[in-house]
């Protein structure tokens, strides 16, 4: 492996990691503040992607789709919170897992009924249609860089909101000590509804933004679901900083790690199992290793 490839893989990993961060950050705040495991988080990513497709077709531009899609997703999040999630506060994790597992089944079938089962592509905006040459063979799509930049900006905004604003203060108080916010007389009902809506909107926003790059097809929600849980758990539940670090680790694992494993594709560990068969396993092995080292994730607080 030469240095150029190494650098490009680094870039690929960071870019994928940034997208994962955007998805996982919503999950981690819902986790951290409300104590709710939302397995249906990936479904909101899926809804975002499909909204990008149908709204872009309708309005002609991904930017209009973003403008309309984000409030729609926020309302959907609010609706789900009011109808279902509200019953889960103070219930144990098991019931949260189950109820949101049920939601996944419903979301998937609704997608099939509303949008059909064909794969679709979402056009990129005209001014981002070009690619930037990296080597004489490969170039980098401008939209991917745009996507990475947007994710970075959003990460910055999130940092600012959490550290500097009143809402952020409540969020921080809530994730470190849920009883505290009640004692302070903050209306948890409103706070929880807001947080859940924000969390799911982030997933939908990731879906909206990623749709032109990743296309839209059935099952995309579940593809990001488990991996974003891995990110959240590695980073430590409730920690946005942790989600960022976790997302970067998974992103790099996916690009650099896989390239390295594939370099050993002729090494057989046992009959029928060669080293490059282990690419999928490594992500989970990393997560398990980190949890065994730090049972509450990298930046999580042990409870």
């Amino acid at each position: 492996m030469d240095l150029t490839l190494l650098l490009i893989q680094l870039l690929n990993g960071v870019q994928y990691g940034l997208l994962l961060f955007l998805i996982a950050s919503g999950l981690t705040i819902v986790f951290g503040i409300m104590g709710v495991i939302n397995l249906a988080h990936g479904s909101f990513y899926m809804v975002g992607a499909y909204l990008a497709w149908s709204l872009t077709a309708w309005t002609g531009s991904i930017f209009w789709a973003l403008l309309l899609g984000v409030p729609l997703a926020a309302m959907l999040g609010l609706l789900v919170e009011r109808l279902f999630i509200v019953h889960l506060y103070n219930r144990d994790h098991l019931q949260q897992v189950l109820l949101t597992f049920g939601l996944i089944l419903i979301f998937n079938e609704m997608q099939s009924i509303i949008w059909g089962d064909d794969p679709h592509s979402v056009p990129k905006p005209d001014f981002l249609q070009f690619s930037i040459p990296l080597t004489e063979v490969q170039s980098y799509p401008a939209y991917n860089l745009f996507l990475a930049a947007v994710c970075l900006v959003l990460a910055g905004v999130m940092y600012w909101v959490v550290q500097k604003t009143r809402l952020g203060m409540r969020i921080r108080a809530g994730s470190s000590n849920p009883e505290m916010i009640q004692a302070l007389g903050i209306n948890t009902k409103v706070l929880f509804a807001t947080v859940f809506s924000i969390g799911t909107t982030m997933a939908a926003l990731a879906g909206l933004l990623a749709a032109p790059e990743r296309s839209v097809y059935p099952g995309i929600g579940e593809q990001v679901l488990i991996i974003s849980f891995v990110v959240v758990v590695i980073g430590g539940i409730g920690s946005i900083k942790g989600a960022f670090v976790g997302a970067m680790m998974i992103g790099l694992m996916d690009s650099l790690g896989a390239t390295i494993l594939r370099a050993f594709d002729d090494v057989e560990l046992m009959s029928g199992l060669s080293v490059d068969n282990l690419t999928s396993v490594t992500v989970y092995a990393l997560m398990a290793a980190i949890l065994l080292w730090r049972p509450a994730g990298l930046y999580g607080r042990a409870h």
Binding site: M1, D2, T4, L5, I8, Q9, N12, G13, Q15, Y16, N108, E109, S112, G116, D117, D118, P119, H120, S121, P123, S131, P133, T135, E136, V137, Q138, S139, Y140, P141, Y143, N144, R214, S215, V216, Y217, P218, G219, I220, Q223, D254, S255, L256, A258, T259, R262, D265, D276, N277, T279, S280
Partner: protein, 402 residues
């Protein structure tokens, strides 16, 4: 012909009743089915009617219904009745669903599925029960290889088949360094093996095999690796959403103009060129069919299909159509006597006919012997360039039939 969309709920209801100790044991009376000349021939379809592959299941079913309707709804003095069951494209459910059709619905013919894992599960039970079975899509090589059986037929292809001709084509064109890139699961591995077998004689070299975990679609790092290897060509196996994304990512990474040719099994550009847009232009793939295939049978078939269903026929519709044709041949040979299995099997084995895909017959292992076409995407349509390999038969390693 009537399409009864239901199946008995006696079994399930009775079971619940009994299990709850209620004792509605009447529910367990076996569904007696007289094989009389008046009774309808029961054809069970185990196809995906929901989820990712639902479109394929629909096309196959539509074409079957069309073929049966063309036979004036009566074949060998008996009417046909379709019993549809959603395969959910999930192997753990497949054995159960197959049992439901065979043991509970007592179907005379079983048609399905789309997914290779489901096909493996289905074939296991179909072998044990000896039910006439036609696979209208799933390509798992094993089913017409070591697991072949007298009562199991395929109207589609083996995964090996669409790979082999592309290997031959690139070999003949003198491509020296080729990279294989595919979803690392059964279908992808077997497709890649087909390519390797076709490419082997040319003296070219496979410089790298990149297996992407199925169904991951994060391709950036794979593309970077391919770019750094600078091969003459790449052979790929991706389908559906993965095919859309790979082709678009390939173009966006600038590889389309790099001199590295992207090729694949036909599924890379089948039914997804609209979503791929300009990125798909010029891609060459090999498959046993193309929408633009210009022969009389295909032209008539496509016109009729459009008239009946309002949408364009595709390769899956052709496979469903030929599955129905096999059933028709079998019933005609025995005048509708579904008990005469040996005669039905012989009739299907001896079929030589003009399918919309061109000349069609079955190998000793019951897999189609068919032409493979080299296709190129022009204006969003897979246009036939030439016949890449004529009357290609699967090697059927390990099959003891015939």
């Amino acid at each position: 012909m009537s399409t009864r969309k239901t199946y008995s709920r006696r079994g399930a209801l009775g079971l619940m009743g009994a299990a709850a100790g209620v004792g509605t044991l009447a529910g367990f009376t076996p569904t007696k089915f007289a094989i009389g000349q008046q009774a309808k021939v029961r054809v069970g379809t185990l196809l995906p009617y929901s989820g990712t592959y639902a479109r394929l299941g629909e096309a196959i079913t539509n074409a079957m219904q069309m073929r049966f309707a063309q036979s004036k709804e009566m074949i060998g003095s008996r009417e046909i009745e379709l019993i549809k069951l959603d395969s959910e494209a999930a192997p753990p459910k497949a054995t159960e669903n197959t049992s439901k059709l065979i043991n509970s619905e007592k179907v005379d013919f079983l048609v399905g599925p789309v997914h290779s894992g489901v096909a493996m599960a289905m074939a296991k039970i179909a072998r044990e029960e000896g039910v006439m079975t036609i696979i209208p899509n799933a390509g798992a090589d094993q089913i017409t290889g070591p697991l072949c059986a007298p009562n199991i037929f395929r109207s589609s292809f083996s995964n090996w088949q669409p790979g082999y001709p592309m290997g031959r084509v690139l070999g003949a064109e003198g491509k020296k360094r080729v990279v294989l890139c595919y979803w690392n699961y059964g279908a992808g591995q077997q497709s890649a093996q087909g390519f390797k077998d076709g490419f082997a004689e040319s003296g070219g070299e496979i410089i790298k095999e990149i297996g992407v975990p199925f169904p991951e679609v994060e391709f950036q790092s794979v593309l970077s690796e391919i770019a750094s290897l600078k091969p003459d060509a790449v052979y790929t196996f991706f389908a559906g959403g993965g095919a859309v994304k790979f082709v678009k990512d390939w173009a966006a990474a600038g590889l389309k103009d790099s001199g590295i040719e992207l090729t694949g099994s036909g599924f890379l550009t089948e039914g997804v060129t609209e979503a791929q847009g300009a990125a798909a232009e010029g891609l060459r793939t090999t498959l046993h069919y193309a929408d633009t295939l210009d022969n009389d049978v295909n032209n008539v078939f496509r016109r009729n299909y459009k008239e009946m269903w309002g949408s364009e026929a595709d390769v899956y519709a052709v496979q469903g159509y030929d599955a129905a044709e096999m059933i028709r041949v079998a019933l005609e040979a025995t005048d509708g006597d579904t008990g005469a299995k040996d005669d039905m099997i012989k009739a299907i084995e001896n079929t030589v006919y003009d399918s919309p895909r061109g000349p069609f017959k079955l190998s000793a292992a019951h897999n189609p012997v068919q032409n493979f076409y080299l296709r190129k995407v022009v204006n969003g349509v897979n246009e036939v360039q030439s016949i890449a390999v004529e009357a290609l038969s699967d090697p059927a390693k390990g099959c003891r039939l015939g």
